[in-house]
């Protein structure tokens, strides 16, 4: 437990040193959302029904942000070598990375979602379902990003590659998440339960895949 917490607090420490990055990422999120009405038209009837899907797509794209650098810095620093010999192990390290990434990237998104919902005229009654679905969905997307980042670590165009790897795998999350957010079945809908099942599956898969992918570190630069 102590090694796990230590890794998370290390990552949070490092993120705190670069805390302006969060603002950039939030800006990206907001701009994507703003582009839709600009492309569609301000009073269009479509805008109403597009609100929730738009937030989902924007969340998906923003949560991909920064994954190519997730392990790269640790590999180059030689920290990954230390982790592979440590009590923590690569599997738990990957989970710790997921936690700290979610806290620094997805949590801010969740916090400004109510404001965006206002901008998009999403009914406040829909907000609880939306927030719950986003909560579970962003956790699932983060774990997918961990898988993508671990697999593409050291590749040439890793940011584009991670997107190609993660987005098809994210389709079920997107489908269940958008349905869970827009549903009239209340917060705990069947869609949310399916989303939760995806999260459980990814929780089991991601550490295993990431640890296997990161296990072999041939060169110190990771290439």
């Amino acid at each position: 437990m102590r090694p796990f917490i230590a890794q998370i607090s290390r990552d949070l420490d490092i993120a705190w040193q670069n805390r302006q990055d969060v603002v950039v990422m939030l800006g990206f999120f907001i701009i994507i959302i703003a582009l839709f009405p600009l492309a569609i038209g301000p009073k269009s009837a479509m805008l109403q029904s597009l609100g929730i899907p738009m937030i989902w797509i924007a969340a998906l794209l923003s949560s991909l942000n920064g994954f190519d650098r997730l392990f790269a810095q640790d590999v180059r620093d030689g920290w990954l070598d230390q982790i592979s010999l440590s009590a923590l192990g690569l599997g738990w390290y990957a989970v710790a990375k997921a936690v700290s990434h979610w806290l620094t990237a997805s949590l801010p998104l969740l916090l400004i979602t109510p404001i965006l919902a206002l901008m998009l005229n999403i009914a406040t009654t829909k907000l609880p379902a939306l927030m719950t679905a986003l909560l579970v969905g962003t956790m699932a997307l983060t774990l997918l990003g961990i898988i993508g980042a671990a697999l593409a670590e050291g590749a040439r165009r890793s940011s584009a590659l991670i997107a190609i790897l993660v987005l098809p795998l994210a389709v079920p999350v997107l489908i269940f998440g958008a349905l869970a957010a827009a549903t009239d079945d209340g917060i705990i809908s069947p869609h949310l339960m399916l989303l939760g099942a995806m999260l459980a599956l990814l929780l089991a898969m991601a550490p295993l895949v990431a640890a296997t992918a990161l296990k072999i570190g041939e060169t110190e630069s990771g290439i």
Binding site: G154, L161, P168, V171, P172, M205, T212
Partner: protein, 239 residues
């Protein structure tokens, strides 16, 4: 000196023996199947002659899926047993499977235009096939995305395994999505129960397509093995 030639030699000998028989079976099945399918089997009373495209569409779809499962198996063999041929097989299968997936999408579009009036419909099966195509692209991109070519084998193998687990999940989620958004289902591809006069050419085409797949993969594997042998010889000091 680690001998790369041990297993591959045995593979080449084995593949040489089965190659000709498979070629013959493939040609016979494809020729007869196409003849039956395109000429002598009945046209559908609703769709007319356009239904004949299922003789290519269905085998292509089946093989795209079969190919990806094969890819996943190769991945398993590579990661767990570090079998040297598994990587070669995966690199041989991936583009072939991807082409079959693409063929499925194209024939689906060609079928869709006269049927539904649109070049593309977001029907559950076509959408799932599209995502499978993306899965293929991902594996190929990852396997070739590193500066040192052999570096990509391991992540690609892992991705193939992750993909195989996700394929049924994606299929399920797309079905879920499709039925919820489109309560009135579109025409089921293949129509009602398939008559035996259509079944025979279909099965022939399936067998023929499997044979074609195997032949192409064997040829690709031989080429890849030869490439690797060349590269190894160049690295050997004073060779």
């Amino acid at each position: 000196m680690f001998d790369y030639l041990a297993n591959p030699s045995r593979f080449i000998r084995l593949s040489n023996r089965v190659f000709m028989p498979i070629c013959i079976i493939t040609v016979i099945c494809l020729a007869y199947g196409l003849y039956l399918g395109l000429f002598s089997s009945p046209a559908d009373y609703q769709q007319g002659d356009t239904v004949r495209i299922i003789y290519i569409h269905v085998p292509a779809a089946w093989l795209a899926l079969f190919g990806y499962v094969g890819l996943g198996l190769c991945g398993l063999f590579y990661i767990v047993w570090r079998h040297p041929l598994a990587d070669i097989a995966a690199r041989a299968i991936a583009p072939v499977g991807a082409v079959f997936a693409f063929l499925t999408l194209i024939t689906g579009a060609l079928w869709g235009k006269p049927m539904w009036g649109a070049w593309w419909v977001w029907d559950a099966r076509l959408t799932s096939m599209l995502i499978l195509f993306f899965f293929y692209l991902g594996v190929i991109a990852l396997a070739n995305g590193f500066d040192r070519p052999e570096r990509g084998s391991r992540p690609a193998a892992l991705l193939a395994m992750v993909g195989v687990i996700n394929v049924p999940i994606v299929k399920f989620s797309v079905d879920w999505w499709n039925t919820l958004h489109q309560p009135a289902s579109l025409l089921r591809s293949g129509g009602p129960a398939i008559d035996s006069s259509m079944l025979t050419p279909l099965i022939l085409m399936l067998i023929g397509a499997h044979g074609y797949f195997i032949i192409v993969v064997i040829l690709r594997m031989r080429a890849l093995l030869a490439e690797r042998r060349l590269a190894a010889m160049r690295l050997r000091p004073g060779a």
